[in-house]
Amino acid sequence: MLRIDHLTKKFGEKTAVDDLSLEIRPGEIYGFIGHNGAGKTTTIKCAIGILDYDAGEIAIDGIRLADDPIGCKKRLAYIPDNPDLYDYMTGIQFLNFIADVFEVPANVRRDRIRKYGDAFGLTPDLATNIASYSHGMKQKLAVIAALLHEPKLLIMDEPFVGLDPKAAFTLKQYMRELCDAGGAIFFSTHVLEVAEKLCDKIAIIRNGRLIKSGTMEEVKGDESLEEVFLELVED
């Protein structure tokens, strides 16, 4: 579903991502972990097509991002680490805007907005301006907006930050549902317990380079993910 081949991204002299390769297959939840400034967000932004890159290739659902960025974006949804949304819209206006852009039919979107709005407990606040939302409410709205067009690939940067325990649980359920339906998820996190419980595969990045990847068993063996991570990043 997502293939990253030899991705390199530089900011001036600094190499943020160095020759990174990954492949995420349909049905997989793929966790991406690394220390602060390791290059996780840069990799994610390159993968969703909002950052240009210096070398390598990215393909989504078999389509090269460089050839058809719009086609790729139609298949994916992205949730950033800090969801700055359109403060001048209400929650429902924002969801309808996203639904229009992703061409979700009116009757389908109504059902989905109700389903996800109720599941995340945001329905009563949908008529309120986003400017008055808390960080957690914005995060919930960003999640609902991402699920609205039922993407094949969901890419998330620290998705659980700001979510209350119930919303975090609901999101994990939908993540599994999406993968069971043939979709794939690629997300970064600092919460290693979540990654350990949720992910089918994991990749660890340090200073822009991929230092380990594979199934959870391959990466951690008999140790905990936390122990493996600390060993790898301190080497």
């Binding site: 969703i48 097509g49 240009d52 929650g91 852009v101």
Partner: protein, 544 residues
């Protein structure tokens, strides 16, 4: 503690002057010197303006009403200090970003308030000097009030900022209180109030001579009514002539007003700055939304952003106001405008103004339309939300088109209405003026519409080339950007250049031919700018 807090306020002010608001880095010395020079020039010009007012009031010395001169100028000084400090009070006392931070520390709220009010007082002192310097010079020249009188006059002018701080704090508290309670239509309210303020300001500015004459004319009657009473204005005047009880009375008023205000606010400061009350929560009712095309959805998003920001509306859409006012004025003063054109035509028979009317109309409407620079900050204001547009399945051109469409709709509609009003005024002709023909109207409208399209594209390109994506306050992106400057002044300069070009070519090209040629030139420029936008512009957008 107060010393530490005052030091912090002082550092904050110095950083605002010497630091770059975007990066926090220190400005270059040249920039700081330039700012200081501009500030001194503005300060001197304001003093010069108040010299004019004091000049008009010197007649009171001849009438034996020197006290009335001082009382009137003291009132002007107080008004100046209050008006210029109200918004500082709102932003630095009630809405200061670090209020909660400081309140969480072991600091008494009244100390925080004291440091904040001290800063406002310093500002009031600065504004006080503008009317006070000419007042005191005239006073020394004409009043002959003796040493004690002159000392009292200076002291009263120094005490006025205390009273001003008290008044500004109370008015500012009301403004902050109302502002925190308005949840709907706040932007429209801000636009309306700002527009009203501007209208009142300009009416006052253009009628200042008449107002001064009225004050001078009615001064003796007012002075007679106040004389001998404990009216503070009379007592201010008396104090400036050395009357000790009057001086003590005025000093007591100023000090007591500040003390009462400080006591009241310090008791309630924590509650005032931490209470956030909104209106009733909007209840969500599920509705089936109609699916829109992508371009319509993007256009609606742009429109919501425009109408959702008072700063954007006020700075990007002033042309709408200009054109609506001009349209209404043309309908109301149809006869006056036509008579003025006839008179002008008759005054210059050799020039033949009549035949230039469609051209003059086209350039005048284009000039007013250039007051709209909606596209010029439209990319900068997306800064924090640019990830949304870039991660959505839309092309750069769809993104640009929505922005252009907003400026088109909001500028072309009022421009068309104004063109119709212009046609309504001149269609009939008469008095030596040939009636405007539909062909003239068409030429005028085509030129104006092309000009609007050109300016919208130019503004967008300017912003694409010079975006500000690091702002912390949207107003900075809307107001203080090179792209907005280029779009606004560029538009006005272009209209001037069209006028100049016609004047230079008037022997070779008639007004109709010139309008056609100018429209042709605009079409070529629009095509070139569009080509750039589709190719290099799209690439540049991807790099943002």
């Amino acid at each position: 503690m107060r010393k530490t807090l005052i030091h912090k306020q002082f550092l904050q002010t110095v950083r605002a002057i010497t630091g770059n608001p975007k990066t926090g880095a220190r400005r270059k010395t040249g920039g700081i010197v330039l700012m200081a020079v501009v500030f001194v020039l503005v300060w001197i010009s304001m003093i010069a303006a108040f010299f004019g007012i004091t000049e008009a009031f010197t007649v009171f010395f001849d009438m034996g009403l020197g006290w009335f001169f001082f009382a009137a100028m003291s009132l002007v000084t107080l008004a100046m200090c209050v008006l210029m400090t109200i918004f500082t009070v709102v932003s630095t006392v009630y809405n200061a970003k670090d209020n909660e931070l400081l309140l969480a520390m072991p600091i008494r709220p009244k100390d925080i308030l004291f440091a904040r009010l001290f800063q406002v007082w310093l500002l009031a002192l600065l504004f006080m000097t503008m009317p006070a310097v000419p007042t005191i010079i005239r006073w020394f020249m004409y009043a002959k009030a003796g040493v004690l009188g002159n000392v009292f006059a200076v002291l009263i002018l120094l005490l006025i900022p205390l009273l001003a701080v008290a008044l500004a704090s109370l008015v500012g508290w009301v403004v902050a209180w109302i502002s925190s309670r308005i949840t709907k239509g706040k932007n429209y309210m801000t636009v309306l109030l700002t527009t009203l303020f501007l209208i009142v300001y300009y009416v006052f500015y253009f009628r200042i001579n008449r107002i001064l004459n009225d004050v001078v004319a009615s001064g003796p009657a007012m002075a007679e009514a106040m004389a001998g009473t404990w009216n503070p204005l009379f007592r201010i005047g008396k104090a400036a002539y050395g009357d000790v009880p009057s001086f003590l009375f005025i000093a007591a008023i100023c000090i007591a007003a500040f003390a009462v205000c400080y006591a009241l606010l310090s008791r309630n400061f924590a509650r005032i700055v931490t209470t956030k009350k909104g209106g009733a929560k909007t209840v969500y009712h599920e509705k089936t939304a109609k699916q829109s095309k992508i371009k319509n959805a993007l256009f609606r998003k742009e429109l919501r952003h425009f109408t959702g920001s008072a700063a954007y509306m006020l700075n990007g859409g002033m042309g709408i106001l200009f054109m609506v006012v001009a349209t209404v004025a043309l309908f109301i003063y149809r006869g006056t405008v036509r008579d003025a054109a006839i008179e002008l035509n008759n005054m210059m028979p050799g020039v033949g103004i009549a035949k230039f009317i469609p051209l003059i109309g086209a350039i005048a409407i284009a000039f007013l339309a250039a007051g709209n620079d909606i596209t010029a900050p439209s990319i900068s204001i997306e800064a924090h939300t640019l990830w949304l547009s870039k991660s959505m399945p839309i092309t750069a051109n769809e993104f640009f088109e929505a922005k252009l469409q907003l400026q088109r709709v909001l500028t072309m509609i009022p421009a068309l209405l104004l063109s119709l009003a212009f046609y309504y005024v001149f269609a009939g002709g008469g008095g030596g003026l040939p009636g405007l023909e539909p062909k003239d109207f068409l030429l005028m409208v085509v030129f104006v519409m092309l000009f609007i399209e050109f300016m919208a594209t130019l503004g967008l390109i300017a912003n694409l080339l010079m975006p500000n994506l690091t702002w912390t306050n949207e107003t900075v992106a809307v107001k203080q950007s090179y792209s907005a400057l280029i779009a606004l002044f560029g538009g006005w300069i272009f209209t001037g250049l069209f006028g100049l070009a016609f004047w230079l070519l008037r022997d070779r090209l008639g007004p109709d031919s010139f309008l056609m040629a100018a429209s042709g030139l605009l079409i070529v420029l629009i095509i070139l700018l569009r080509l750039w936008l589709r190719t290099r512009g799209a690439k540049r957008y991807e790099m943002l």
